[in-house]
Subunit: 363 residues, 3 copies
């Protein structure tokens, strides 16, 4: 009895039950029927072309988070969330970092030896299983030791990459790629070499008949724009962001260095203003094309403009960013991230409404 | 099917369905009946006189917001919210600003030409229609270009006021007034002239047989008190607020300048401490009476004393402010704002409880 | 009708209704049955030993809060929350402070005379009644005038302690102890004397045949660690925390001074890092043993590491802290606090999931 009861008593859950009952074989509760009908006839009246934007087909999974509070989901909630993702068109999930400082997503022998904290659940196994179940591709995010200097990330990840490949990569068909999770931002000394080393190791270890060059890798850096301020600061923007030209010069150098080991780049889209999207996106696409890197966008589904850090974004802001990604012929859109900011079962109820608006727009 | 499903899956929604089914013709779900009954007998035991305060009869609609995260409601949710407002006694809704920088609530030809962002829905049309449907008066908030200098607001609003009157004001009976949305605070150079110009334009354009002087206008300034700190700062108060005497002197000058074009003034009640309410409210009422301006209070329903910016206020704090407004013979109470901070379907579940406490108190 | 309706329309409420209907005599809604069943079979797969930690048997009640937004619960919601607490194994509730500056939990004649704000409900009476109903022990938190200097707290509490004993302590069997609510932190001048005076008064007034030494008292100080930063600051940690040795020296002095009047000490566990728990807990336990004070832990159920201040903690973090408390043979665990951060009806839906994870772990 207990599990049903504990399930039912969460509000988003009660909701989810009804929603998913329609996917499965359960009957919808008749008591809500009448109201539902009235509602069915009151679609919002959109005055923009529907679906004229790049749809989101991937999402990060925010484990281990460092700035978004945890939702404390168990396996049942994660399973349900993958169903919601699938229903929205998501085919790719990316664990954002498999460990952060002493916290980890799976019982890593290497990290445990370093004094890491034993997790109560093996989330990587769970994510690989659920990806398998829902026909999605799982990308694995590397460990983050907490240093802003990428060079420090190389050593621990030597062990992590091996462990992860042996435990999950070689075992689950859903394991389909790597995410080099360190954010290339202002601290660049030695970063190119570090990304080469980590990218090469990821690819080498995952070579197979099916993937002779190894599994694909990607990065998701931030643009050093006006809104590039720490989450631990109260402010939401700073006076000066990087110029488009400086951005181009910097990333030309970086791509030149790493393109052999990085297959896609998903710039975060939230650090620049909405009227700067086309200028930066155009440069990103040109650079990606020049170096044979896939050009993805990391469409942030949280709002960087608000004093509450962070809550779901207003739909129209997300739409503006996805429209720009389409205009600039981007290859794929992923989001940070579905479960807090777009999921109907998110603790932030605005997220479920964003899901509705998104589906209303993409039809 | 989709719309009913997407509706039902939100928790506040499931709740709303049940609630509203009692207003409409739907049957209430019997499963919850028993518990509901138990609940009916456990009213809180109030130890203060019930309803001895000025009731809230108006609310802002926070579009375009600049510091409260968006709820991503569609037309169905807005319709339901107007019903909740009505049920609580609200007869006046005020759009807080029809545009903010490049964001807008309706497809403004003027702002689109300036590079503004096309909205996906025409909210002004929606708000006018819903006001009509629920028998409420709609006040229209002017455009805010983002400048703290009111003088900069005059030029764009020349076009906005014309557009809005033509599109909505002349068309909807519910369109009943104007809100000059710029906050008269510390930056006063030229502000009086700016308010005169904008107020006059609003009144002139809306003159009719029924409203020979044009539709009413109002403002909602802040008192420069201890809690007048930026939402983008972590702090919740500063060392020194304005004195009652300085407040009187300053607003005597302002009212002297603008009273011909402003029919009501709703001071925000959240920047001063609870034991300062009577002192400031008394002065406000005296000044309003002197200049023939209606004295409203903008009873903020969010809590300025908390590090989370912003969540619903504790009921007793709201009560203290509304009691003071009654003691000082204020004419009307409006709130900023119902949909986030008092609505049973708010993403902040504390809001629904505030709604219950409010109704329990006012009976 | 109104009360049932207002109850039902809150999401957490709808959920609660179903949950509690199973405790009471109501039938569970059949529409959710099927989904519930599916869920029952998907327990999380724990990879740590279950229940190898000190269970939480007490919680603060956050009235008057100074930094957590109010939930606006009425008597029905409080009653339901006590049932949830009971179900989780809680036998002790502690009102955190019966008044804070001009706000109060009960109509205190003393504070009203000083210009305090009349509350709309007598919460102390409510808490005592509910403790009685659910077989719990109620501890009463003293008044906090807002000064960081404990010496200033003595005078007002002379009157408060008398009032409270007469109104509630002498009347309710559930009234079982006192909580000296002032936080002994960095401001120690005279603090020992102040705690002696207040502790002695609490004990003296509550002497009886059954409690010849008076009712027990406790304190819940913070460790001056890395995360000891103000909630009103954006940052989440500072560069230097107190060393274990300095902590030992300081608290040896304090305990030496106050042990006669303080029966238990529940250090807050959230200001130090997870890998510092054992070092500090060991010292705490040694000092408590030396002075004959019960060693409790105040297991904070909110997350101090996030920019949102404050949301429910990740279960694994709470587990790490409770495991350490067990390893160090602590006597009891209480939490700050159940109703916002662990309750299935909390406005923070993460809290209900934390409740589920907690119960899953403790079995």
């Amino acid at each position: 009895m207990e599990n049903r009861r504990s399930f039912i008593k969460k509000s988003a859950m009660a909701a989810a039950a009804v929603c998913l009952s329609e996917i499965g074989s359960n009957a919808a509760p008749t008591a809500l029927e009448g109201f539902g009908k009235a509602n069915r006839n009151s679609h919002s009246n959109l005055i923009v072309p529907k679906g004229d934007a790049l749809p989101i087909t991937g999402t990060f999974l925010d484990e281990i988070s460092h700035d978004i509070p945890h939702q404390n989901w168990g396996e049942a909630e994660w399973d349900r969330d993958f169903r919601y993702m699938k229903e929205m068109g998501i085919d790719t999930v990316i664990d954002i970092r498999c460990g952060y400082k002493k916290f980890m997503t799976y019982p890593s022998p290497y990290l445990l030896k370093q004094g890491g904290y034993m997790p109560s659940v093996d989330l990587i196994d769970l994510f690989c299983r659920l990806s398998q179940k829902y026909g999605m591709t799982y990308y694995h995010g590397l460990y983050d030791c907490g240093s802003r200097n990428s060079v420090d990330q190389v050593e621990p990840n030597k062990y992590i990459i091996e462990e992860v490949w042996e435990r999950y990569g070689s075992k689950y068909d859903s394991f389909g790629g790597w995410y080099i999770s360190h954010e290339l931002g202002r601290y660049l000394d030695g970063a190119i070499g570090a990304f080469q080393t980590m990218g090469k190791q990821c690819k080498d270890i995952s070579k197979s008949a099916k993937h002779p060059k190894g599994l694909p890798t990607f990065i998701s850096p931030w643009i050093d724009g006006k809104k590039a301020v720490s989450a631990a600061k109260a402010e939401v923007h700073r006076d000066e962001g990087v110029s488009v030209d400086d951005h181009r010069t910097k990333w030309n150098t970086i791509f030149d260095g790493i393109h052999e080991y990085v297959d896609a780049c998903a710039f975060q889209d939230g650090h620049i203003d909405y009227d700067e999207l086309d200028a930066f996106f155009t440069v990103n696409k040109q650079l990606c094309d020049k170096y044979g890197i896939q050009c993805w966008t990391n469409a942030e589904s949280f709002d960087r403009d608000m004093p509450i850090k962070f809550f779901p974004i207003k739909f129209d802001k997300l739409r503006l960013k996805l429209e720009a990604a389409k205009r600039c012929s981007y290859d794929k859109a992923i989001t940070f991230e579905f479960s807090h900011f777009m999921s109907p079962q998110s603790a932030y109820l605005q997220a479920g409404h964003l899901y509705d608006r998104y589906k209303e727009y993409f039809g």
